[in-house]
């Protein structure tokens, strides 16, 4: 079988080495400004899709990052464990103002949601088992299943291509839901398989071989 699309990574171009250079304007941005900016994002990004809110604020409004850098940082966020929103906060904060910036950004983006869910926990204690609440929550849970499935499908459309990908998705689902294996075990086994499947092609070595072949055979007379 032909292995396809080795170079296609989530439709995102691979980041270049220029990533390490801090943006020119980073000196002007205070830690407090980073905190309040991420606090506002954390308080207004209703309905998920925090990434879109981040881009709006960081790239469009404040121009702390250009689009290329934003996409590069996003591709790091997506590969690593952790939520996109908090990984992005850490990466962006670090680039703007080092460790203090990273800390300010992640605290800012987490604080509003954390306070809200703390309130939800208190309210749920008091009213969670009343018939009206239970009925409403049943509907909320069902709708949330639809939402999560929709998000997964949209993500899958962007990042999956070809039969091998579908096989890896299926193996993962079967491992967790049918065989009841723990998530880390499935992650390690199927993850290792998938990474090996997409292992680096030996283009450079092949090239070397071809070069040598040519040398051996010499220029045809």
């Amino acid at each position: 079988m032909q292995r396809r699309a080795t170079n296609k990574v989530s439709a995102i171009p691979p980041p270049g080495p220029e990533l390490v250079q801090p943006p020119a304007r980073s000196g002007e941005i205070s830690v407090l400004k980073i905190f309040t900016t991420f606090l506002v994002i954390g308080a207004t990004s209703f309905g998920g899709g925090v990434v879109a809110y981040l881009r709006n604020s960081l790239v469009t409004k404040y121009q702390w990052l250009d689009d290329k850098t934003f996409v590069e940082l996003l591709s790091i966020s997506q590969t690593l464990p952790g939520l996109n929103a908090t990984n992005m906060a850490v990466l962006v904060g670090d680039r703007l103002r080092g460790t203090a910036g990273a800390l300010a950004a992640i605290c800012g983006i987490c604080l509003p949601g954390a306070v809200i869910m703390y309130g939800v926990a208190l309210a749920y204690h008091v009213r969670g088992d009343r018939p009206l609440s239970v009925a409403g929550l049943k509907g909320v849970a069902a709708a949330a299943v639809g939402l999560i499935l929709a998000t997964t499908i949209q993500l899958g459309r962007k990042s999956l291509s070809g039969l091998p990908d579908l096989v890896f998705v299926a193996l993962t689902v079967v491992g967790v839901n049918r065989l009841h294996q723990s998530v880390p075990r499935v992650l390690i086994v199927v993850g290792a398989l998938a990474i090996l499947w997409y292992r680096p092609r030996r283009q450079e070595k092949d090239k070397d071989k071809e070069d040598k072949k040519e040398e051996k055979e010499g220029p045809s007379p």
């Binding site: 080795t6 990574v9 270049g16 080495p17 990533l19 390490v20 954390g42 207004t44 209703f46 309905g47 998920g48 590969t79 690593l80 952790g82 939520l83 929103a85 990984n87 850490v90 670090d94 987490c110 949601g113 954390a114 809200i116 869910m117 703390y118 939800v120 926990a121 208190l122 749920y124 239970v134 009925a135 409403g136 929550l137 049943k138 509907g139 909320v140 069902a142 949330a144 299943v145 639809g146 999560i148 499935l149 997964t152 949209q154 990908d165 890896f168 998705v169 299926a170 193996l171 993962t172 967790v176 839901n177 723990s182 998530v183 992650l187 199927v190 998938a194 090996l196 499947w197 680096p200």
Partner: protein, 174 residues
């Protein structure tokens, strides 16, 4: 009984499983909080998780509610730190090394290989949750309608979830 050490262990472990999104950790979240530690019932977990989808910010803030549930304010704070610190440190470290990693040929393979696995984990989490949340034809219809609406329009998911609450109140009262 002091549950704080268990909260730290469970949530720092779950932190590292959120590959591709918070939902990837849901099956383990269910096993550990419901089956192992009996901190809450599966139904309660699903309720908190679903309500958490409406909160702004990172979409796993429902863990704060679990922490509050188990050990009050200290529990909430401990869970927050345990859940976000490990991956934050990882992102911080890798972010600084990324320039060097860019030339490492396996980096591309890891990114490419983990893409389908993370989708699979999200799907597995979704199925685990569906088992508890889709319990009859009305909830199935709500889930399907939400899915269709969200795939076909650019409506804010908050409204879809609120609509689910309304349908629940009207049709699922027992």
């Amino acid at each position: 009984m002091n549950q704080i050490p268990d909260l730290i262990r469970v949530f720092s472990y779950l932190s590292l499983l959120t590959v591709g999104g918070g939902m990837a950790a849901f099956p383990e979240l269910k096993v550990l909080t419901v089956d192992v530690h009996h901190w809450l019932t599966f139904k309660q977990l699903i309720h908190l998780y679903s309500v958490g989808q409406m909160a702004p910010g990172p979409n796993m803030m429902m863990i704060v509610a679990v922490g509050q549930w188990v050990a009050g304010l200290p529990g909430a704070i401990v869970v927050l730190i345990a859940f976000f610190l490990p991956t934050a440190l990882l992102a911080f470290t890798i972010g600084r090394l990324w320039g060097r990693l860019a030339k490492w040929p396996w980096r591309q393979s890891i990114q490419r290989g983990l893409a389908p696995v993370s989708i699979g984990l999200l799907l597995a989490g979704c199925l685990t949750m569906a088992k508890g949340a889709v319990t009859g034809w009305i909830t199935a219809a709500v889930a399907l309608a939400a899915l269709m609406f969200l795939l076909r329009s650019r409506i804010n998911p908050v409204f879809v979830i609120l609509a689910g609450a309304v349908v629940g109140i009207l049709a699922l009262r027992t």
